[in-house]
Amino acid sequence: MKVKVLVTPKAAVLDPQGVAVRDAMKHLGMPEVHSVRIGKYLEIEVDDKTPNLDSRLNDLCRDLLSNPVIEDYEVVK
C-alpha cells in the first residue's frame, strides 16, 4: 500500500522559501495570494500486512521524517 506523509513548517517558524514563492506568484499576476508555506511530501510504499503500521509510522514521522520543534506532520492513507 501507499502511505503519504505531509510535513509542514509550524506557523511560528519563518518560511523564507514560502515568502519568496508568494512574492513570485504576486509578481506573475496573482496579487490575491496571501501566503505560501512550503513543506515536504513523502510517498511511502509499505507492506499491506505491516503489523502496528500506524503507531510505527507515527513514531518514525516524529523521530525522523519531521522535526517536531519546527514541523508538523500528517499521515494520509
Binding site: 511560528a12 522535526n67 519546527i70
Partner: protein, 236 residues
C-alpha cells in the same frame, strides 16, 4: 589531551578541526568514523561541519541515527565536553542534546563570511578564556543557520544563561544589522542546561591562525582544555 573528531559521510570540516586541534600544544585529535560505537579514552568530542548525508531530509536528521551517536549521547550525559560546529550544531539539535532547531537562512542565501560574535557567558566550559562581552571574529558558512526555538525555550535559555554567543556588530551591539541569517535573538551558539554540550554555527576550527583572518577560535578550544585540565585536578 585527546579530542575525538566524528566523521560522518559528507562531513567536510573534519580535516579543519583535526588540523586546528593538532596545532595546539597538548592536544591530540583523532578521527572517529561514524560507524564506530565507542568513544572510550577521549576527553572531548567534536562534531564537525559539513553536509552529513547530503543534508537530505533536514540538516543532521540522518546523522543523528549514526551508530556513534549513541556513544556521543552517553558521554554527554556523563558530562564529557561535546562541541558541534555548523552541521555539528544541527546534529546536536536534531538528536535533542540541545534545544531548538536550525532552519533555512532568512535571506535564503548560503552565507560564507567572517562575522563578529559577542561572548554572552564568560564562565562557561567553552568560553571562560574570554572576557564577558568580548568579541570573537569567526567565519560562518551555512545555508541553514537560522536558529529557532519557541518562546518558553528561549526564556529558559536566557534564564539559565545557555546563550553563549550572539551575532554582534563590530562595536559589540546586538541588533538586526549584525544578524546574518535571521536567528532569533541573534543567537550564534548555545549550550545545554548542564553546560557541557555546546553548539555554534560559526567555525572556530577555521579561525585558529592569524593568517586565516582570525585566531579567535583558539580561545574556545583553549577554554575547553582548561576545563578538562581543572576537572582532572579536581578528580585527582
Amino acid at each position: 589531551m585527546k579530542f575525538a573528531v566524528i566523521q560522518f559521510p559528507g562531513s567536510n570540516c573534519d580535516q579543519d578541526c583535526l588540523a586546528a586541534l593538532n596545532g595546539i600544544a597538548g592536544v591530540r585529535a583523532e578521527y572517529v568514523w561514524h560507524k564506530k560505537t565507542s568513544l572510550d579514552g577521549c576527553d572531548a568530542i567534536v562534531l564537525p561541519g559539513g553536509f552529513s548525508y547530503g543534508d537530505y531530509l533536514r540538516c543532521g536528521a540522518i546523522a543523528r541515527f549514526s551508530p556513534i551517536m549513541a556513544s556521543v549521547v552517553e558521554e554527554a550525559r556523563n558530562g564529557k565536553l561535546v562541541i558541534g560546529t555548523c552541521n555539528g550544531f544541527q546534529v546536536l539539535c536534531e538528536i535533542g542534546l540541545l534545544p531548538g532547531a536550525l532552519v533555512r537562512n532568512r535571506a535564503l542565501h548560503f552565507i560564507c563570511d567572517l562575522v563578529t560574535t559577542r561572548v554572552e557567558v564568560a564562565d562557561s566550559a567553552f568560553t571562560h578564556g574570554c572576557a564577558q562581552g568580548s568579541l570573537l571574529r569567526l567565519p560562518i558558512a551555512h545555508g541553514e543557520g537560522c536558529y529557532f526555538a519557541d518562546e518558553p525555550t528561549l526564556r529558559e535559555l536566557n534564564e539559565r544563561r545557555q546563550i553563549i554567543l550572539r551575532y554582534a556588530t563590530a562595536d559589540g551591539r546586538i541588533d538586526a544589522s549584525a544578524n546574518p541569517n535571521g536567528s532569533v535573538e541573534n543567537i550564534a551558539g548555545i549550550c545545554n542546561r548542564e553546560g557541557n554540550v555546546f553548539g555554534l554555527m560559526p567555525h572556530p576550527d577555521r579561525a585558529c591562525e592569524e593568517r586565516l583572518g582570525s585566531a579567535d577560535g583558539l580561545k574556545i578550544f583553549q577554554s575547553m582544555m582548561t576545563t578538562i585540565e581543572s576537572r582532572r585536578q579536581q578528580a585527582a
